[in-house]
């Protein structure tokens, strides 16, 4: 394969990804718009202080006009997409801030939480798989069972139980806050189910890779069991788990809604929950789009990483 072909293929691949990412963003923008418009209740009333507030008709009309809610739905939708195209996420009803500013302020903690949970789950999964797979029947089975149990735990329940044990009872870790120590419990409650899941997938592929002839071939060259695992098998075994990681990033970002609430952490998950309950359309859609963007970026990075690990994948995509 000459360099020109490779570059061309890479370029067309990137273009395809960009188009794919664009359509993902478009659909998620539309889903958010629809969801927030079919919601029962009136965002203006939510904005102006709930049921027993006594806003004057003039105040209501002013608010409607200010956020364009007095226009026909189709026009609102068109304007919404048009502004998005220009990178304008609008102004949040409920926060009295530009959505971009809210995201700038709130996205960091969520991204940190997501990445730390992803990293933690991979570390746990890889350690468990590397150390135990096919090492010993009992050990293998026990570790696989632990992974299965981990994958079955609802992060929501796990978070509450961890909070109760480590923050309320033992008081080893702070129950809330934005410090590094306060990151541990939310990370763990997200990482255990995901780590179990990745571990299970990786264990299967690790075992399958161990059966491959090249493993035997490597052994006949004098490699030790550990060398074979780390140098050869691991590389093959991580691929399926890696493929799932983009999805995992999206799931983690979604689960942040719950975990951030339980641990009273700041972040876009909790903000989204509040935005939806306030029917704050610009903020909710801004956060959803941001999350979708992160997914698109994550899947692109992971695809690149996969191609780095398995160069055969480079040509495989259309």
């Amino acid at each position: 394969m000459n360099a020109g072909v490779r570059t061309r293929r890479l370029a067309s691949g990137l273009l395809g990804r960009a188009a794919g990412g664009g359509s993902v963003l478009f659909v998620s923008a539309s889903i958010t718009f629809i969801a927030l418009h079919i919601m029962p209740g009136d965002p203006v009333m939510a904005m102006l202080g709930g049921p027993t507030a006594d806003p004057s008709p003039a105040a209501i009309a002013a608010a409607r006009h200010e956020y364009g809610l007095d226009r026909p739905l189709a026009v609102q939708y068109g304007l919404y997409l048009w502004r998005l195209l220009h990178g304008d996420l609008g102004v949040s009803f409920s926060q009295h801030m530009r959505v971009a500013a809210v995201l700038r302020e709130q996205a960091g903690p969520t991204i940190v939480l997501t990445l730390s949970a992803l990293a933690a789950s991979w570390i746990v999964a890889l350690l468990s798989v590397l150390v135990t797979t096919r090492r010993n029947r009992w050990l293998d089975g026990a570790a696989a069972s632990v992974e299965t149990v981990g994958a079955s735990l609802p992060h929501f329940w796990l978070g509450i139980v961890l909070l109760w044990v480590f923050a309320f009872r033992l008081q080893w870790l702070p129950p809330a806050g934005n410090s590094l120590a306060a990151l541990i419990l939310p990370t763990v409650s997200l990482a255990i189910p995901l780590g179990g899941f990745i571990g299970r997938v990786t264990r299967d592929s690790f075992a399958a890779a161990l059966d491959q002839p090249f493993v035997l071939s490597a052994r006949t060259r004098g490699l030790s069991d550990w060398q074979v695992r780390v140098l050869h098998v691991l590389r093959h075994a991580v691929l399926p788990g890696l493929g799932l990681s983009a999805w995992a990033v999206a799931a983690l970002l979604g689960n942040a809604v719950v975990v951030e609430t339980i641990f009273s952490r700041r972040g876009i998950g909790r903000q989204l929950f509040e935005a939806v309950s306030m029917q704050d359309m610009p903020l909710a859609s801004g956060i959803v789009l941001f999350v979708t963007c992160l997914y698109v970026i994550a899947s692109l990075l992971i695809e690149m990483l996969s191609a780095l690990i398995d160069p055969r994948l480079q040509g495989a995509r259309r």
Partner: protein, 546 residues
């Protein structure tokens, strides 16, 4: 008097001017005797974060709590409900009651250096009235406001469209704090992020979803008469944290990471009371207590016998003893005990009496069906209660117990969980049988708002009626109007007693417990005060002994 929202202010609501300090442990005298110490930063944690720090915009309780620390008002209100000077050193009321002339202090400037002038008063009141401000509380309080004339730099004449006896009381509330006109001149949304006042603290930084940082205003020298000291605040600053989860908030307090938390949930009161490092500061709030309002506009509650039966069938005391660990007192009448003109005569009109409930339903023609639920003409005795998402778990459980006890009498009570907006819509459309809520305010006039026929109509577009019972009685309305017009306390007492009697005898609501403010304070924190006009936490007098 204006009322507060109940919906979104589920746990954090207004405290009256007449705070009854119940179960409040005084700071240990041995420490207090050394006198207040200066310095230190107090860490305060609350559940809800304001959406805007300017209390003029929208107008929700968390905003007042923040405003109390950095804003002053024109007038203040003391514990006895008397209006006292503050930024206005004196005022005159025109004989027709439509013009108020305020004489402002000459030595006040905002923390951005802008001096306090009559122009500033005009700018503030005008901004509250401007529809673009989206002010629902402050703006709603001063509907009668016409305009302000600036007589000289420190004399402002405020004109009202009609007499409004409550105007000064309203001005004493944190929602109508006076902000720097220079800061107000910025866009609404900019002002929301960093408003400027003349209070004991100034806002340094607002980290959304995390905290607000306040620093002492070193030039402060005009505390209201209700304060316990004069001059700048003792604290160097405040970190005002937002921790929505009650358990997490309490655990953090116990762990020593916080100094004061508010909205202590009932389940944490016992552990808090047992903990020697903590003090509780609990105060009942006046107004119409926490309740379920029965919708008399549709069957089955259009029949007073069914209403009475429902009220008698609910074992509220049992619920309070279990869910609230016996820490919440029962509110039996239409007014909370701390409300002016409250009468204890109606406390036991609604006690649990299942036998009476059975008899009433039998009389009304509702017969028990095979599953124990009563029926009449083939219609089951169904009671629909919309339950909004923000309802606290303890309240949920309380209504589940009402559901269970009412079922024994033959009611099929359906608790329907839904989003806040949907629940509001159901109540607005009279598509409910019981509307859950409470109404905190410092006047018995609340009974006019909650049960007056003038409040049956919808306000605004898709708005709400404040009278959720559908009760309409011209005689009752006349009593309430008469009570507003007279200034004779004895006359008012008689009128409000009549009103309470009427409401109680019509079985329009199941009242459960009075709203309360509940703070848990670490023992090395002193001088935390509850401000009388709206009953929010004031940290101006607070100091740390560590």
């Amino acid at each position: 008097m204006r009322a507060e929202h109940r919906g979104r202010a589920a746990r954090l609501a207004v405290l009256s001017a007449l705070v009854a300090v119940a179960g409040c442990h005084r700071p240990r005298t041995s420490v207090a005797s050394k006198g207040p110490l200066r310095g230190g930063t107090l860490v305060y944690a609350t559940d809800r974060e304001p959406i805007c720090l300017d209390p003029h915009v929208a107008g929700d309780m968390p905003q007042v709590f923040v405003a109390e620390q950095y804003l002053d008002r024109l007038v203040s209100m003391d514990r006895d409900g008397h209006i006292r000077p503050w930024l206005a050193s004196s005022w005159d009321i025109s004989p027709d009651g439509r013009s108020y002339t305020f004489h402002l202090r000459h030595d006040v400037s905002f923390t951005d250096g802008t001096p306090l002038t009559a122009e500033a008063v005009r700018a503030n009141l005008d901004q509250m009235r401007d529809p673009h401000t989206q002010s629902t509380t402050a703006g709603g309080y001063i509907r009668q406001y016409v305009g302000t004339d600036v007589l000289d730099a420190h004399t402002a004449v405020v004109h009202l469209s009609r007499p409004y006896a409550a105007f000064l009381e309203v001005l004493a509330q944190g929602f109508l704090g006076i902000e720097s006109p220079r800061a107000l001149a910025r866009s609404r949304d900019d002002n929301c992020q960093s408003p400027v006042g003349s209070g004991p603290f100034r806002i340094v930084r607002w980290d959304h979803q995390s905290d607000i940082v306040f620093a002492r205003n070193p030039d402060y020298h005009r505390a209201p008469p209700t304060a316990r000291h004069q001059g700048p605040a003792y604290l160097d600053g405040i970190v005002w944290k937002f921790i929505p989860e009650p358990q997490v908030r309490f655990a953090s307090l116990q762990a020593g990471e916080l100094d004061v938390i508010d909205n202590l949930p009932p389940e944490d009161e016992l552990p808090a009371a047992k903990n020697p490092e903590l003090r509780l500061l609990v105060a009942d709030r006046p107004g119409n207590p926490t309740h379920g309002m029965l919708d008399t506009r549709r069957a089955p509650f259009n029949d007073i016998r069914v209403r009475e039966a429902f009220v008698c069938s609910a074992d509220i005391d049992g619920a309070l003893s279990s869910v609230f660990f016996g820490r919440y007192r029962r509110a039996g009448g239409p007014l909370s005990p701390t409300t002016p003109f409250y009468s204890p005569d109606f406390e036991h009109a609604k006690d649990y009496d299942p036998l009476r409930a059975d008899r009433l339903l039998d009389e009304a023609g509702w017969r028990r069906g095979p599953d124990g639920i009563r029926e009449r003409h083939g219609v089951r005795l169904v009671v629909e209660i919309p339950e909004r998402a923000s309802l606290a778990p303890a309240d949920r459980t309380l209504w589940e117990q009402v559901q269970a006890t009412a079922r024994q009498t033959g009611f099929d009570v359906r608790l329907e969980p839904m989003s806040d907006t949907q629940a509001n819509q159901r109540v607005a459309d009279w598509d409910d049988d019981v509307a859950l809520g409470y109404w905190n305010t410092n006047t018995a006039d609340v009974l006019r708002i909650v049960f007056g026929s003038a409040f049956l109509g919808r306000t605004g577009i898709g708005g709400h009626h404040q009278n959720n019972s559908g009760f309409s009685d011209p005689a009752y309305d006349r009593i309430m109007e008469a009570a507003l017009e007279t200034r004779d306390a004895a006359r008012r007492r008689v009128l409000y007693h009549q009103a309470q009697a009427i409401i109680s005898s019509r079985y329009l609501q199941i009242t459960t417990y009075p709203q309360t403010t509940r703070l848990a304070i670490r023992s090395d924190v002193h001088g935390v005060r509850i401000e009388p006009s709206l009953g929010v936490t004031s940290l101006y007098d607070a100091w740390l002994s560590r």
